[in-house]
């Protein structure tokens, strides 16, 4: 009996042992890979190493944009080890005026027992954060952009925001155009984590380093940009204008030395995403005339001895009469006088001699049919007519019925300054990555006008400045080749007598081997509609400064 009992017990034990062994085999061998993976997922983690966004500098290596690390403070009531008022006093010691800045949310949080958690908008620096190592106080790190020159060059720089995944992304200007170069590459660490969640580095863990974004060194001359913004704001206010823009480039390289657009009501455009100097299209008016004369001289449609024998009366084209802005007629005007007097009638005869095909050929060569390709986000493409009746060609000779951006007009006019060669405007000079300098690629240069044409048009412009209406405001110590313009703003396709104007002045100095080419446009000036009375004084004031600064 006892023998059979022990036998049963043995069989039962062997059976149990077999079952346990089978389960062990099942979990440790059959299910091993799956469990191993699950264990890894629980104990290993992938940690992101954020890269630092590149900084942006002016041409004198001064930082226009830096990165700033700040902290946002949160309070969590259940973790408090001391009285709320004591904690508040400690915060006040570290961050003076905290209570005043946050009086309303503080009172609400204090009196509402159901509210356990609050986050404040005030930002703390590293030292302030280190003073507040108190239970119940939490800090969240915030990476921001910092602008040492405040709103200076905002239109050029652009701004940053976050996309749906929380990654910093540029909007407008350099920040958006050079997003890839600025953002760098995020790094990763993969490895087991300890009880506190920190990654433990061992043989099985791996990592890839973060690569910081490239720093950008622009061509922006800080002093020039400073004066441009100051004088533009002053000009807009004095001439009771709605807004205005100024752009200055280096003639030989196309390097953008300064660019600003301001409105009457603020010291910066409403949004730094939109830059009117590159995104607003306007009719250039008389500042376009020197380009037409250059085209006509280059094709030998006219020569410098040209005399307008029909300028003693309006130029009649179909049902339209072309007259001058002052309703006066200049009989037997020379080419120099046509530019000096800004003679619309004379210009309409010159473009007729040039012909539509040649005009369109040069129009395209001057880059006016497309974007300039400036390295800023948001440039507008000019619209070009497909049909050109005779009257439209005539009005194009004095810059009406065609549209350009300010940067496009400056690029085209700079061809005269740069000995007939078109260069693309360029904001960024070079990048740095780990102390390695990477030059921004140069665009190819295009010869538009020959040297003789350039010599002729320069002497015409110089004569016009020295003998025209602006001669009274031109400082004696600077040589200037420039032209003023006043374009009426079309409303629903027609020009009303009382319509607003865009007053502009464009030119370079000195005439030979120039240091800069500059355009000033003033939108809807109310003290005087004319470019020579509004845009020109700002231009000359800046030109005097540039003479010292460049």
């Amino acid at each position: 009996m006892s023998h059979s009992r022990s036998k049963i017990l043995s069989i039962a034990l062997i059976f149990c042992f077999s079952v346990v062994s089978f389960r062990f085999f099942y979990w440790q061998v059959i299910k091993a890979p799956e469990l191993k993976e699950k264990a890894k997922n629980q104990t290993y983690k992938l940690e992101k190493i954020l890269s630092e966004r590149g900084k942006i500098y002016s041409s004198d290596n001064f930082p226009l944009v830096l990165n700033q690390t700040t902290y946002q403070l949160s309070l969590y009531k259940p973790n408090f080890k001391e009285d709320f008022d004591q904690i508040l006093n400690k915060i006040e010691q570290a961050y003076p005026n905290f209570k005043t800045e946050n009086s309303e949310p503080v009172d609400k949080f204090k009196n509402n027992s159901n509210q356990k958690w609050i986050t404040f908008n005030s930002t703390f620096n590293e030292d302030q954060k280190n003073l507040l190592n108190i239970p119940g106080i939490e800090f969240q790190k915030i990476e921001k952009r910092f602008y040492p020159e405040n709103s200076m060059a905002k239109d050029i720089i652009g701004t940053i925001g976050r996309d749906s995944s929380g990654t910093q992304i540029g909007y407008g200007g350099i920040e958006a155009f050079y997003q890839k170069q600025l953002q760098g590459k995020t790094g990763f660490i993969w490895g087991p984590q300890d009880a506190t969640g920190k990654t433990i580095l061992n043989k099985k863990s791996w990592s890839s380093d973060a690569v910081n974004g490239r720093n950008i060194f622009t061509n922006i001359n800080r002093s020039v940009q400073f004066y441009v913004e100051k004088l533009l704001q002053k000009g807009i206010n004095e001439f009771s204008a709605d807004s205005g823009s100024i752009t200055i480039i280096e003639p030989k390289t196309g390097a953008v030395l300064a660019m600003a657009s301001l409105t009457a009501t603020s010291s910066a455009t409403p949004s730094s995403i939109r830059n009117p100097a590159i995104s607003d299209l306007f009719e250039p008016g008389s500042i376009f005339k020197p380009l037409i004369v250059s085209m006509a001289l280059d094709t030998k449609s006219i020569n410098t001895n040209y005399i307008c024998t029909k300028c003693n009366q309006p130029h009649v084209i179909g049902k339209y009469n072309i007259s001058n802005w002052d309703s006066e007629f200049h009989a037997d005007s020379s080419l120099q006088d046509i530019i000096k007097n800004s003679d619309n009638i004379g210009m309409s005869y010159i473009i007729a001699k040039l012909g539509l095909d040649s005009f369109l050929n040069y129009y395209q060569k001057l880059g006016l049919t497309q974007k300039t390709g400036i390295d800023l986000q948001g440039e507008a493409k000019p619209t070009v007519k497909t049909e050109w009746p005779e009257i439209d060609l005539a009005t194009a000779s004095f810059g009406q019925g065609i549209v350009v951006t300010q940067i496009g007009m400056l690029q085209a006019f700079n061809v005269i300054a740069n000995d007939g060669i078109l260069v693309k405007p360029k904001v960024v000079n070079y990048f740095t990555e780990d102390d390695k300098i990477i030059k921004n690629k140069n665009q190819k240069e295009i010869q538009v006008f020959n040297q003789q044409t350039i010599n002729d048009i320069k002497s015409i412009l110089k004569y016009s400045v020295e003998n025209g209406v602006v001669s009274k405001i031109k400082p004696e110590n600077i040589e200037v080749c420039a032209k003023s313009g006043t374009a009426q703003v079309a409303i629903s396709g027609s020009y009303e007598n009382n319509s607003s104007t865009i007053a502009s002045y464009i030119g370079f100095s000195p005439c030979y081997n120039p240091k800069f080419t500059m355009i000033v446009t003033i939108n809807n000036p109310k003290t005087s509609p004319w470019g020579s009375s509004t845009a020109a004084p700002i231009w000359y004031e800046l030109a005097s400064k540039l003479n010292d600064l460049l």
């Binding site: 830096l66 200076m152 800004s342 405001i473």
Partner: protein, 85 residues
């Protein structure tokens, strides 16, 4: 008789293994703590550097110089001329 040295050998082997594994794991923890500590120090230096860069840039900015300059004199732009076009 032979069993005794054999068991002793096994016993010491186990002791060595346990000691080594303790030493090895504590070494990993120490090294990782050191890395964490250095990372925190590096981070705080980076932030300090950032703050100093900010201060230097703010103090030498043109807007700061303008705000602290005793005299700000801009030439009046408006010319009393009746210029046209």
């Amino acid at each position: 008789m032979l069993n005794k040295p054999f068991f002793l050998f096994i016993f010491f082997l186990i002791i060595i293994q346990v000691t080594f594994s303790f030493y090895y794991s504590s070494e990993i923890i120490n090294q990782n703590n050191l890395i964490n500590q250095n990372q925190i120090t590096l981070q705080s230096f980076k932030i300090k550097n950032q703050e100093l860069e900010e201060k230097l840039a703010t103090l030498s900015s043109l807007s700061k110089i303008e705000a602290t300059a005793s005299q700000k004199n801009y030439i009046n732009l408006r010319e009393k001329l009746n210029l046209q076009n």
